[in-house]
């Protein structure tokens, strides 16, 4: 861990809460991106990131500085985001804004704008997004987390295992199960299973 971070942590523990801004500036974006991969929507991603930073702050005195702050905060946000997804799954009345190709206020969906796309690309993107969303919904929270972090964020398997509090082999199996399920989901359209 570099000197600036160590000093920021020391200052926070000495009572200077504004010193926490240094850590937030460095990691909030990546933490939110990971939360977004797990939750699948912007509002929940920000909520999980906020909660993770708050929990890290309140537990900062127990943070052993032999590991890096980034690994520690990633571990916290993954757990927070998974718990949030599980909570949302149980609460059927909750509808956060979700990314969709057809934004609709009744379905609480929004679209991430892509200014460089032409009509043809947009049509293809729309179909692909719909397919991806359906397939991802079939995964368990752990499978989704392990897969997105390994494949989309390139996080090493050992780090994913540590963050999810499971063995490296369990994390690996979760990724394999996820790819297998996604591949089967693509079967009808792309000849995913040959």
């Amino acid at each position: 861990m570099d000197k600036t971070e160590t000093e920021a942590i020391r200052d926070v523990l000495a009572g200077d809460r504004d010193a926490y801004r240094v850590l937030m500036d460095r990691y909030f974006s990546s933490v939110t991106r990971v939360a977004f991969r797990i939750t699948g929507n912007e509002a929940d991603a920000e909520e999980a990131a906020q909660e993770a930073f708050l929990r890290a702050y309140n537990k900062l005195s127990s943070f052993r500085q032999d590991s890096t702050f980034s690994t520690w905060i990633m571990r916290i946000v993954m757990n927070t985001a998974i718990n949030l997804v599980e909570r949302r799954n149980r609460d059927l009345s909750y509808h956060a804004s979700r990314i969709d190709d057809e934004p609709s206020p009744t379905d609480h969906t929004v679209r991430v704008s892509d200014k460089q796309s032409g009509p043809e690309t947009m049509l293809l993107n729309r179909e692909a997004a719909s397919l991806r969303r359906t397939a991802m919904a079939e995964l368990t929270p752990m499978e989704r987390t392990a897969f997105t972090l390994r494949h989309m964020e390139d996080v090493p398997m050992a780090e994913i295992a540590a963050a999810l509090n499971v063995t490296s082999n369990s994390a690996k199996q979760a990724v394999f199960r996820a790819v297998s399920k996604l591949r089967r989901s693509l079967t009808p359209v792309a000849g995913g299973l040959r």
Partner: protein, 241 residues
């Protein structure tokens, strides 16, 4: 010619397989495996990273700052090392658990050769038919919670206790489903897990509560049972081809 399983080919595509050279040369000669491998690669391409929204740092900082209390520096006690008095019993327990795991692993390996059903901690045979596809998610949550219980040195944090509370009702449903479908071994394990959840939900968190829970309810053994249930569930869903 030995064909490679789907799992091995997924590991190869994710660059997690140490046998990459052998797989690569096999794919050049085997059309069947090459097709599966290409289909996995295609799946990974379809699910490559989508753009993620950029958070507004300034707004988020103001929101977070409003919730931050000013921390007061803690004075270190001269008798700090006494807090580590749990380390020796924990080491002893861990060694005993390793021996038990080894013996149990050998037993499972041998019994697996004879029949497909397995017995866990004397609860009788566990079905290989998944009663409910959603149980995979429940077992994962159970595994994470028990790992937290087994690894925490102090009281459990609020988030973990909340999670235990929310798992409690869900667990009762899975116990009933397991009983109704005749999976008595699975029902017994989930019932034991339910006892851990009830204790977590009702007893106040003290410095030694997690440690006592581990000793009284054998959460390490329960974690092993849950992992075996997960493996049985994976096997019955047939991850590999």
């Amino acid at each position: 010619m030995r064909h490679f399983s789907e799992e091995e080919l997924i590991a190869y595509q994710l660059q997690e397989n140490s046998d990459a050279v052998a797989i690569s040369s096999h794919l050049e000669n085997c059309r069947e495996c090459a097709d599966v491998s290409e289909s996995i690669a295609e799946t990974l391409r379809v699910f490559s990273a989508e753009p993620a929204p950029q958070p507004d740092l300034e707004r988020n900082w103001h929101r977070l700052r409003a919730n931050l209390s000013v921390l007061t520096p803690q004075r270190r006690s001269r008798f700090e090392f006494l807090r580590w008095n749990w380390a020796w019993p924990a080491t002893g327990l861990a060694a005993a658990a390793i021996v038990l795991l080894t013996v149990f692993g050998v037993y499972l390996h041998r019994s697996g050769e004879m029949k497909r059903n397995v017995a866990v901690n004397g609860h009788g045979p566990i079905t290989v038919e998944p009663a409910d596809p959603a149980i995979a998610s429940h077992l994962e949550a159970a595994e994470r919670l028990l790992t937290e219980v087994n690894n925490s040195s102090g009281p459990l944090d609020e988030g973990t206790r909340e999670q235990a509370h929310s798992l409690l009702l869900q667990n009762a449903i899975y116990v009933r489903n397991a009983r109704n479908s005749g999976a008595l071994g699975e029902a017994a394990i989930l019932e034991n897990f339910g006892r851990v959840l009830t204790t977590l939900d009702n007893e106040p968190a003290t410095e030694h509560s997690t440690w006592r829970l581990r000793l009284e309810m054998n959460t390490s053994g329960l974690l092993l049972d849950i992992r075996i249930l997960q493996q049985n569930d994976d096997r019955s869903q047939g991850v590999t081809q």
